[in-house]
Subunit: 481 residues, 3 copies
């Protein structure tokens, strides 16, 4: 049972909700999958009531007194709230980039995935994910749990110590959880069935992501204890999403027409206006992603925003130049991915790096993003929007960049290659978790849904018609393209 | 005459502006309607000067000293300013959702309506609306007025008591006023003439909305005194807009082709990319709508944002599932409306509800939004973008949800059905005001403009050409659709 | 060598970077221009290292203690950081407005310009621009310089005096610098070569803009000393960009088909949905542009946002009415430009004007924007998106409006026409700087790149294919338009 706002102090009465929610995953699965008769509807209406029992009616709210709110408490909570709002807004950015870089016949599907996934992510993360990530240890530094849901009670100590209130900490972390699912979306685009994708996202955000991220960010996590550094989630979020998506992309196989006679074919995106809008949205929202990962507002936050800006700028510039060098003309989709690459690359070290180094980290990230597209192609893996290159390749680069450029732990600070080694351990650990769980879950879903890939005919027609029965742009005539 | 910033203390010298602005509505009407000769232009240039007289040149600014700004004063004003900016940004969200869910041949018209309406709303609300809403009582709890415009003077007491400065209170409330007009826009889309719509919006935001909202939010309002609860405007804003739009939709009648042989026909939206973008924009901006309705920044604000998030998530999930149950496939436009339904449903009670209950409120809202579309269709009312279902049906549900789930006044807190009864009274009162004034104003406009609906031929061609002489996407070939 | 965050106190050890970066412009130029062989790639990888030398590895970070952060320090820095984020978000607004108001065959080019330009602007402004703008005088009030880059060290005095930290001051100013280049983009659209435009932007943001803006905003600048007033950049940013763009537009000449038999032809924009979205984005972001130009958070900021809102509203209303008077129908692109005109017009005086006057300033701005389009046409200058009318004409009007309506220095405050005279001097000075430098740089680029305009055939095909080898909307059939 959750406790209402305004209350403070007291123990955490969580027993009720733990008991009444054990059957949640099964119910959710059944209700989503076997939706064939409309009689199910009646039952569905009962599910939430069964789920939450009496916890819904909170009769125990006490309006306890808090001490006067200090400037630090107010500023910390206000800034991180703004950060949470910005990170939630990233869903719009990812939706526009991914939809814009795919074909119009799959646009509804991509938009629907990105739209519903945040709701699913929040629900799953609220149900169990947040507890798995920031709960107390139940298996050394490897597994954490604190019961279902969380207790939003604000205590006097939180105010005195200028801490984030629990609701805000949850919201900020839930926004991050959603991001890891969104990254997967790009890699499996234009060929995956809708329902298995949504279920994968629920499991990813509710279980896979929080378990791995806890290793890095829970104060008792084993990677944290080891000294692994990932300030705002290059590994915890971006690599986490990228590896899970890569497994999906490999299991799915390439889209029809991507490889002809063994040679990769360009399949251009249908709407570069919204893709560009999405890139700028993501850039802006990244100030919340990185800046609010300080989990406070202080003199360091603007510096973090500056290194983030410089890296994004350099990533965009480098990717544009490199694409021009390679193809003779500057490719807008490479500028877009270069900016995102710069952002991903700086995320782990943005608070502890000199400004020139942040520019270099971004420039290398932007370059790698362009080159990586060819590497992925040469492996016969189909990554429709370059999400692997941005989040996987640059996720790894950004993780290692901590070991090179950190002003406290980097290559030239007396730590030598030590931190780089630690960073490799962390990257490997998260990759392993994402890959192993990815293989299990994707295959499980494949069994449940008779494969996770749409049929050939549906793919050629487009997922919008086959999966959603509608078109994104019905008023416009399309090319035979 | 308004007083400049930096000043504090002193009486409110308002006489001048009250006198010089009595003729404003008449002038405005004449200038907007009879725009047939370009000689009018010369006169128009004089209008503003005539309107504002010497009030324009503020010679009385005194730079009085304020006490040191406290942390609470700064945080309260900063957060609500951010909230105001977010609520103003909702205009972009509504514009994208509405335009995206209508046909391309009417896109310019919808965009133009949404763009101009905020400017008109702000002007009308500044002229008279804010005073009608938060002025002193001139007829019990039913009518309030304080002279035209408002006094922006910041006093020492405001600083000491950490109150919002008058300019901010105005801006935040003006943003809300604009929303109520935007909701109307969706319900009358694709067949209403441009100028009558703009005039209706001016009257709605300047007079109808503030009078009704004062009943709820003015501390002396009769519904407020009675105990009616509407934290952030489910009734005051959303139902207010929905009922006014419903009257318009009924008077206008359905679009050509909506009902064929008595059966409702699907008229698909032309651009689901921007519609999805709009939904995510609205989601994000709703943190300002609900969170800043606390009118302060404190430990409750993040909690409000969490219940808002959970309800939106549940609304999107429920609407997707229900639409899949009903049609066999998940409908993206239902996911969009489900999210908005979740947001509207939680708005009245977001600060005083347990988290599981907020999820349930959203899930029920999302379900109702889908079902409501069929109900509206069965009544032969044409609501092109589902605005009634989102703001009307869920507006009513959200209003009643206070009586059920409020942790202080809900069904299981000793109040029994009492609060539900009060909520019904409030919902009925606002509906009555919106309906009665809607009938009067729409009919008045119909007389003035020889009907408020475009001619059949113009509707078939599209309002973009007939009302604006331009197309939204002239470079693209359209289907015969 | 820059100093890491967390540090405070100490001198500024800048010698190293000054020495190692002297060759930067030449290297940059070479690497961008002569990109013909992929062997260059190897060299490019060395450039950043050569550029930054050891400055990249910051070994000197000291974690000095700062005093407790005060409420004023936190609020000031938090608000201006939000302002910086909003101003950076304006890039998305400009990109959508400009792309939407041009033809689809040039959309990729416009999007690419707007996307890359912010990265280029930030890099150039960081390298040298910020120092040219806020450095110490090296030639009276005319030229300033402080070495390359900037020192991000936060000192105890900054905290005590509630000042902006250096990183934030840089970021906010860098965002403004980017805006001046974006304005140029609109005026030269649909016919300029990509690389010369990017290089012009780098020079504009890195050198031309900061030198001129320093006259106005550096406390020792000669225009500042003279008494010229430009609160948030109507002249410093908007006129600065507009004059530079005008020179480019004149040198380029009109687009093919713009003037037929001496008569201007309408070339309609291809996507009014994104253009409208862009306008609303710019409106919202302008609260950062104007509101955060207070460089603090206090009781005046909301007032600034109110005058900004009223002016934007009036600009949109006036432009719509005037366009309806002139053509018989309200033109959406005029509503868009009218809102932007209102915003530009109020920017210089938004903090020191009565509310009625702010409405009038916007209404006049919106009217001028519409009329100005015809004036520009009659001069046979091709300004594809009306950027001159918005930023040039209304930039001048807004600059003069300070002299008329300022409550402290305006026409009726005892200053008579004195301030208007000063405003004219400032406007003339900035125009002169922008024009002279514009002529020099555009012609220099024309020599380097064998003309700055694409070939006739390429222009007819569209710049997307000729300059980028891709289309913005490949899935859609286009009209022969």
């Amino acid at each position: 049972m959750t406790v209402a706002p305004h209350t403070s102090g007291g123990r955490r009465p969580r027993l009720l909700q733990e008991a009444s929610l054990l059957e949640a995953p099964e119910l959710l699965l059944r209700s989503v999958r076997g939706l064939s008769s409309s009689r199910t509807l009646t039952w569905l209406a009962c599910v939430p009531l069964a789920l939450f029992g009496l916890g819904v009616f909170n009769l125990s709210a006490h309006a306890a007194e808090l001490p006067e709110l200090t400037a630090a408490f107010l500023a910390n909570n206000l800034w991180v709230l703004i950060g949470a709002i910005l990170v939630i807004f990233m869903n719009a950015g990812f939706a526009m980039v991914e939809a814009g870089l795919c074909r119009s016949k799959n646009a509804v599907n991509i938009l629907a995935k990105n739209l519903i996934v945040f709701g699913v992510a929040v629900t799953a993360y609220w149900l169990v994910g947040y507890s798995l990530m920031y709960g107390n240890s139940i298996a050394g530094g490897w597994l954490f749990f604190n019961g279902l849901f969380f207790d939003p009670t604000v205590t006097a100590d939180m105010v005195k110590e200028a801490k984030l209130v629990p609701s805000l900490d949850f919201l900020f972390q839930a926004a991050f959880a959603g991001t890891s699912a969104t990254i997967v979306s790009g890699m499996v685009a234009e060929r995956i069935k809708f329902t298995p994708f949504v279920l994968f996202s629920a499991i990813k955000c509710g279980i896979i992501y929080p378990i791995g991220a806890a290793w890095i960010w829970n104060s008792a996590g084993w990677l944290k204890q080891l000294g692994f550094i990932d300030f705002a989630g290059t590994t915890a979020v971006h690599q986490m999403g990228a590896w899970g998506g890569l497994v999906g992309a490999i299991i799915l196989g390439p889209r029809i027409g991507k490889f002809v006679g063994g040679k990769p074919q360009a399949i251009p995106g249908h709407n570069l206006s919204i893709a560009t809008l999405g890139a700028l949205l993501l850039w802006v929202c990244w100030y919340g992603f990185n800046g609010a990962s300080e989990l406070a507002f202080n003199q360091n936050v603007p510096y973090i925003c500056v290194t983030t800006t410089l890296s994004a700028s350099a990533g965009g510039i480098a990717a544009t130049i490199v694409s021009q060098l390679r193809s003779g003309k500057p490719d807008l989709s490479m500028t877009i991915n270069g900016i995102l690459a710069g952002l991903v690359s700086i995320t782990a070290v943005c608070n502890d790096i000199s400004m020139p180094a942040s520019w270099i980290v971004g420039a290398i990230g932007g370059t790698l993003a362009v080159l990586s597209v060819s590497w992925v192609d040469s492996l016969k893996i189909d990554d429709p929007v370059g999400a692997w290159s941005v989040h996987g390749t640059c996720g790894l680069w950004g993780t290692l960049a901590v070991g090179v450029f950190s002003t406290k732990h980097g290559l030239f600070t007396g730590h030598g290659f030590g931190q780089i080694g630690l960073q490799l351990v962390g990257a490997f650990a998260i990759a392993a978790e994402a890959i192993v769980t990815g293989i299990i879950v994707w295959n499980l879903l494949a069994v449940m849904f008779d494969g996770i890939r749409v049929h050939e005919k549906e793919e050629i027609t487009g997922l919008d018609i086959s999966e959603h029965g509608m078109e994104a742009y019905p008023d416009f005539a399309t090319t035979s393209h």
